[in-house]
Subunit: 218 residues, 2 copies
């Protein structure tokens, strides 16, 4: 049992954590633009499986960065308030990007009931309607509900929405693997964690890694 | 590649997920009161490692349930706003229990700077002060910062706080394993996920499992 604390300054903890992650990845090479995102997901989960399961469409990072620097024209839509509250607020404000979650909206609950679907699916439909009305582009972030990811896939296939990025990292046991495999067959920029794992913290980590890329380059 | 969706009603997804978890646990037996909590953590993470790493002090569940049904006298203190926003609001309201996170408070940032510590540690100190002033009991929930867990351990040893429960599930690479091992040496009710893994969603899942226990019994 390791009980002795490592003496380290508060500001050094994150840097040291990423050093350990890099060491334990043992020289594994990632495609350009993906390494910092994958490492941040591992930092958030302490789970090295993500080094093998994280899957990017070729245009995912460039499309996301384009949208995130398109001040006032992009909205991040999450499927949980947890993810929304985990996004780095100062970076969002600096870029003039809004993050919304419609899951707790009364009209979403009504629509879900009427359509016999989940609130998660109905909230994605509401986002697509918002994008059509306002002309804004969407970054979808799904960290919880596979039904949200399935709804996005259908909305894209029907031509109802053209997201700048779909983050597909729902977690769970029913239709999660399938929803992830399906979104990767659609012509859309995506970042997906294959398999059952994912979650609201993973979704927030991917969004923050993208935001920190922009901070770094400026 | 499994692409065919399982046809299932929205209200059935959680029940079916827990069935799959039970099947895959293959008859593993957990001590009384722990099974639903551990299964909810697995449901939240799709990670069966928690079946082996979740560790409870003998009094953890009974002490937590006592505090959560002590209307108006208990405050849940989290180390992230993500966990706070992941707690089932309707259950909290029904029980008259408040959940707070002091991480973003300006006085916490100042105190951390002055003391050369983290905001997470300073926010736990603020909670202990609040408990002393108000006479309220605390359920601490640490899903992110090991420094918060270390601060709680010191506050308990100094007699500054007597929590009804410490949920110790920070995630990461620096002092995480140590902080968890140390809190388990203190005389306090605890629920800990040994090892590096944990997170804000795990902390929220444990709190929600405790809240649902009460809902079920009423």
């Amino acid at each position: 049992m390791k009980m002795e604390l490592e003496q380290i300054l508060p500001g050094e903890i994150e840097r040291r954590s990423f050093e350990i992650i890099t060491e334990e990845l043992g020289g594994k090479i990632f495609p350009e633009g993906q390494e910092d995102i994958i490492k941040r997901v591992i930092h958030t989960t302490a789970d090295f499986e993500y080094a093998d399961t994280m899957t990017f469409s070729p245009d995912a990072v460039s499309s996301a960065l384009g949208a995130l620097t398109d001040r006032g024209n992009t909205v991040i839509v999450t499927d949980t308030n947890m993810t929304r509250s985990g996004i780095h607020k100062a970076s969002l404000e600096k870029l003039g990007i809004e993050a919304v979650c419609y899951m707790a909206d009364p009209d979403v609950a009504e629509e879900a009931k009427r359509e016999g679907t989940t609130r998660a699916a109905a909230s994605m439909k509401k986002a697509a309607d918002m994008a059509q009305k306002t002309g804004k582009q969407i970054i979808f972030s799904v960290g919880n509900a596979p039904t949200a990811l399935i709804a996005i896939e259908e909305l894209i296939r029907e031509g109802c929405v053209h997201p700048a990025l779909v983050i597909g990292v729902p977690v769970g046991f029913v239709n999660v693997v399938q929803a992830k495999e399906r979104i990767m067959t659609v012509d859309v920029p995506y970042i997906v964690a294959k398999g059952r794992k994912g979650g609201s913290t993973v979704a927030a980590a991917i969004l923050n890694a993208l935001l920190y890329k922009i901070d770094k380059e400026r």
